[in-house]
Amino acid sequence: MPVQNKETMLKVENLYKWFPLKRTILDAITKKPIRNVKAVDGVSMEIYKGENIGLVGESGCGKSTLAKTIIRLYEPTSGKVNFKGVDFTLLKGKNLREKRTDIQMIFQDPYSSLNPRMSIKETLVEAIKYHKICKDSEIGLKVNELLDMVSIPRYVADRFPREFSGGQRQRISIARALAVNPEFILADEPVSSLDVSIQMQIINLLSDLKNRLNLTVLFISHNLRVVEYITDRVAVMYLGKIVEIGNSKGLFEFPAHPYTNILTNATPVLDPRKKTDKIVIEGEVPSPLDVPAGCRFHPRCPFADDICKKVEPEMKLISKDRYVACHKPLIKELS
């Protein structure tokens, strides 16, 4: 359900994360310019309190880097991340540690994100103790409460991650993220490694918990169908920049950015009568080392003309809640 009264929880302003390539001594002597992988290349967005916002795009477009830069697992190259009035990028030491409990992350691969040498209980207790969430005497209760929340039976708390299936491990990762009572969850492809029948179990669990605990969620995924189903709004990312944001209801049905349109059309339709032989888009995403000038999508865009090659389009509001960075959006106005 779209959020009614919009209160900004997180505001990202002009965030950049560039990874410089290694230079040899020869490069330095000959004064070759430093080359950067521009993973996040000027992202601005607002996330409202209580919403579930999706972030979609192809692999390598910078979705995960954006999430990790927001939570400061990566240091941003420049830009601001304003979380409830505090600039997250400036926090240090104890302040950062305290604030981090407000934002938690769930990772894609539950096989590598849980410590194989720690039992489920130890994993949860570690998070609770490190952030001093409750009195030592109440830790046992808290662990039980967390396990109940994600429907993992209490009696398995002493088992190790290897004894659980992928879906159960993802439940445990969710419990660990919730252990420190966060307000904001960054879920980075939380169901991509799971089977279809298990995927929906986790997604329903996430949306139930979101409603119950009044969480705000940034849901990163490359699966448009899942994103459309569970999110209120969606941001589409291409080569380090957000190209379109809008309400999930309608965004994929009436895309304004040609890239959103292509992503939608490339997703197989669940109807054998609608198959075609026509290829949706030829070629591949350019390297983030050499981002094209002008609009970064212009070399692949069927509608590109001169202005697109020269001028990078600004993010514009084209209708209620729909922003698009395109000189020639596919729809001018939404009714």
Binding site: E58, S59, S165, G167, D195, V196, S197, I198, Q199, M200, Q201, I203, N204, H222, L224, R225, V226, E228, Y229, I230, S248, K249, F252, E253, I262, L263, N265, A266, T267, P268, V269, L270, D271, P272, R273, K274, K275, D277, K278, I279, V280, I281, E282, E284, V285
Partner: protein, 330 residues
Amino acid sequence: MNKILEVKNLETNFFGKTEVVKAVRGVSFNIYEGETFGLIGESGCGKSVTCRSILRLIRDPGKISGGSIIYKGRNLLELSEKEMTEYRGKEIGMIFQEPMSALNPVLTIGEQICEAFKDKELTKSDKEEKAIEFLKIVGIPSGRQRLKEYPHQFSGGMKQRAMMAAVLVSKPKLLLADEPTTSLDVTIQDQILKLINRLKKEFSMSVLLVTHDLGVVAEMCDRVAVMYAGKIMEIADILTLFGEPRHPYTIGLSKSIPYRGAQSERLHPIKGNPPDLSNPPKGCPFEPRCIYKEKICEEMLPELKEIKKGHFSRCHFLEKLENEKGLIKL
């Protein structure tokens, strides 16, 4: 239509130190000339093992323990290893899920494609010329340059194309594609699927497509078998499978996939997890997760019954499912 492949009661087991994992437990299906046959199911259901068993690519501790695989009238399971090499590549080609691990990282793409030419008469430069031709067919431009490159210099989509080129060299009649697009992005997936469709026509091949994605199935297949816990649960033509699924597992899958406009509704995923195949249940393997189950399901495995011509389902209570809807309205 002529059958190109007939799999009968295939059984493949993996012998561990303490237990036997029964990955494929009596699977039977036919593939007809010119069709794309889909094998779908979740990870661990035995679809890939079935696919590999056809080419006898099962390594120790795995073993094909029973059944037959009839290709153009000959049982592949009775052939000697030497005779089998005549079928691998030349008659039946295979592409894999992870092109990175299927290609040899220390050989150039050119060496790997040229290796596939079995004709001893051809000189090295003849082979290279032909390889360039095949690269062009699969949509890799400037082949002369790319032949000298290594797999790590290719993107995921390009690696999959290069693998296709190497397979096409021997002009197989049956292509086994094991999750060919699972590791790729949607736009690249779209390109590769359409490439497979085009090549299927150009080289008049039949295709066995293994996947877990119903969307890919809709895009590609003529007929589909749904696998669960080492058994086929339902076989149908594509329209029937999407319009009138008649197995609780297929119906459950259809209900757990979000579709356009599903936003306001709550989807109902299948509860629970698939069974452990080292100790498969005596009755219907789907029974623990099934919402239609009754006492008999726990005790007796249902037969694969024909509902209408070409539509088979393995369920005791087909009459309960008559009004269930699928993903599309026929």
